[in-house]
């Protein structure tokens, strides 16, 4: 008997008892649909997170230093170091961040005030909608000029901030010299909720002349690793202690995010995978019942010349077909569910080709695997005993 014949037989048997076939498939449908949906959604979330982080600059390296009385990282030395390594670094900017109360007349709010260098804007690919950014002269002169984000414009100036307007940071009067272009719908704690001032002023506000944080821009994300290495050597040379400084980059963060979401995918996929296993056991169970019910049929087929492998094929293919049809329905439902849930959560989620192929392969494999035992039971029936049953 050919495999094609075995498929025809399987089709007949499945159509012959639609309700039972459907119930048997149900486990596979649910299992496959959940595997596909969960993996697809996780993939969507991962991509969303990664693209969010990428916007923040994948070529940036952050350095924090705990300056001590005897060992200090000096700003000018850092600039010099960056200059010397211009094959790796585009530039550097100190970053002195703190939260302060800012006031304009009776309006007041607490926001993050960041002291930066003159290259900050360019290195972070930020844009201004008005005015200019902080310049070298502002830093040298400790000029009380500030660049503000659109959230500050909305909240502190009622949406009407003009260049030259003044406001107070921690009681000191600052003049608006530039306004940053809206980036994140002017929401609180977003990249629009910012005030930039010269770093020299920020250190003074913080009550210390030491700068504990720098942002280095590598030429591109490929040179980040090399940049981290030279920075490590440089900082170790000064601090003599690895605990007194940290070097981190978006690449590391991205890797961490990737590992974490990957882990989450594996766990969710694993849970969904268990339902596939349960579905397989369901199929085995039904096939075993089916073999018992069809003992007479098996006996008749054997009396007419069916060999062991003919019977074997008949049952294995039937199990595999039930399982695979369930798998395909599961893939379709999983596809729709991923799309629907994805757009409900506002992420771009689609089932991955890999998860579809995996689900298809696993469902066919489970059918064959769990169909094997009942099939070999059927195949090894003694024809006389089988014929005698009613």
């Amino acid at each position: 008997m050919s495999i094609l014949q075995a498929f025809k037989l399987a089709g007949k048997s499945i159509v012959g008892s639609k309700m039972r076939s459907f119930l048997t498939m149900l486990g596979m449908i649910i299992g496959v649909a959940s595997v596909i949906t969960l993996i697809g959604l996780m993939e969507g979330v991962t991509n969303y997170v990664i693209s969010t982080f990428s916007d923040m600059g994948t070529n940036m390296i952050s350095v924090t230093v705990t300056n001590t009385d005897t060992r200090k990282v000096d700003v000018d030395a850092v600039y010099e170091f960056t200059e010397e390594n211009s094959d790796i670094f585009l530039g550097v900017t100190p970053k002195v961040s703190s939260r302060y109360t800012v006031k304009n007349g009776t309006e007041s709010l607490t926001t993050s005030v960041t002291g930066v260098g003159e290259d900050y804007l360019e290195l972070n690919s930020l844009e201004l909608s008005a005015g200019r950014f902080i310049q070298y002269a502002d830093i040298k002169n400790r000029y009380n000029g500030a660049v503000i984000g659109s959230y500050i414009v909305e909240e502190l100036f009622d949406g009407n901030a003009a260049l030259g307007d003044t406001f107070k940071i921690n009681g000191q009067v600052y003049t608006i010299i530039g306004i940053q272009k809206e980036e994140a719908d002017s929401e609180a704690n977003s990249t629009d909720d910012v005030v930039y001032i010269p770093y020299s002023n920020a250190t003074r506000l913080a009550g210390s002349n030491d700068i504990g944080s720098y942002s280095f821009a590598a030429i591109d994300s490929e040179t980040v690793e090399a940049g981290e290495e030279v920075l490590d050597n440089y900082l170790y040379g000064i601090m003599k202690n690895e605990d007194l400084y940290t070097i981190s980059s978006m690449t590391q963060l991205l890797e961490t995010v990737n590992t974490m979401t990957g882990m989450l995918s594996a766990i969710l996929g694993g849970i969904a995978g268990i339902s596939l296993l349960v579905a397989g056991i369901g199929i085995m169970n039904i096939m075993l019942v089916s073999v018992v019910e069809r003992t007479k049929e098996i006996g008749i087929r054997k009396s007419l010349g069916a060999k062991k492998r003919d019977i074997m094929w008949q049952f294995v293919i039937e199990a595999a077909a039930i399982s695979t049809i369930g798998g395909v329905i599961g893939i379709i439902i999983g596809y729709i569910a991923t799309r629907t849930l994805g757009s409900a959560f506002g992420i771009e989620a689609a089932p991955t080709l890999n998860s579809i192929l995996l689900a298809f392969g696993v469902s066919a494999g489970i059918g064959i695997g769990f169909g094997y035992m009942p099939a070999s039971k059927a195949a090894s029936l003694n024809p006389i005993d089988a014929l005698r049953t009613e």
Partner: protein
């Protein structure tokens, strides 16, 4: 033992040599076949008779390659079947033997044509040839117009004809029938029997089991069994005389 028509110089179709089939039931053993030797030639029509439990079905299963003997030798068409493995036995059943069962044993989910095609399916025939041969076999038993029907849409007689068509379709050397008329009314029984007789006259070798003396009377040769042994082997007329004599 008597001489029969066409055996001269021919090798027998069936040669059973001292066959034992012994079932171990706990500590007691049941000798379902207790030393049976029987030779059947091409073209014979043999009826096996005997009381229930005398071992008729057991020897029939061995002749039909559904089972192998505990001891003894069975030569079918020159091949030793008594030591064969299950797949070799399947091939013998497929190519050499046509079964007719008391319960017809048609598959309920297949239509008549598909049922008759089954031996050809396992014999590796292509779809076109299967259909053609199966339709021919159905025509031979006179129910080719019913080919689309499922078994439950057919009368008992039609189902038995279907099962005869299935037995014939592979052109087997031997047709075996275990109580083929046991489930039929007397009129249909007669028809089926006439048909078997006709098949025999066309040259088919037939071995059937029966309770019914009128059925046995149709055969050329009657073999009577008792307690797993052959107690009579002769022509139908001789059998009748012996039975009458008591």
């Amino acid at each position: 033992m008597m001489e029969l028509g066409n055996e001269e110089n021919n090798a027998p179709l069936i040669d059973l040599i001292n066959i034992f089939k012994i079932y171990q039931m706990g500590t007691t053993e049941v000798r379902a076949n207790d030393g049976i030797s029987l030779t059947i030639y091409d073209g014979e029509f043999v009826a096996i008779v005997g009381k229930s439990g005398s071992g008729k079905s057991t020897i029939m299963n061995i002749i039909g390659a559904l089972d192998i003997p505990t001891e003894g030798k069975y030569i079918l068409k020159g091949q030793d079947v008594s030591k064969m493995k299950s797949d070799q036995l399947a091939t013998i059943r497929n190519k050499t033997i046509g079964f007719i069962f008391q319960q017809y044993n048609l598959l309920p989910r297949q239509n008549l044509l598909e049922n008759v095609e089954l031996p050809l399916l396992y014999g590796g025939y292509g779809a076109k040839e299967r259909k053609q041969l199966a339709m021919e076999a159905l025509a031979r038993v006179g129910i080719e117009d019913k080919w689309k029907n499922y078994p439950n849409q057919l009368s008992g007689g039609q189902q038995q004809r279907g099962s005869i068509a299935r037995a014939l379709v592979g052109k087997p050397s031997l047709i075996l029938a275990d109580e083929p008329t046991g489930a039929l009314d007397s009129k249909t029984s007669r028809e089926v029997l006439e048909f078997l007789k006709q098949l025999n006259e066309e040259g088919n070798t037939i071995v059937l089991i029966t309770h019914d003396p009128t059925v046995a009377a149709k055969a050329n040769r009657v073999v009577k069994m008792h307690d797993g042994k052959i107690v009579f082997d002769g022509t139908a007329r001789e059998y009748k005389e012996q039975e009458a004599a008591g």
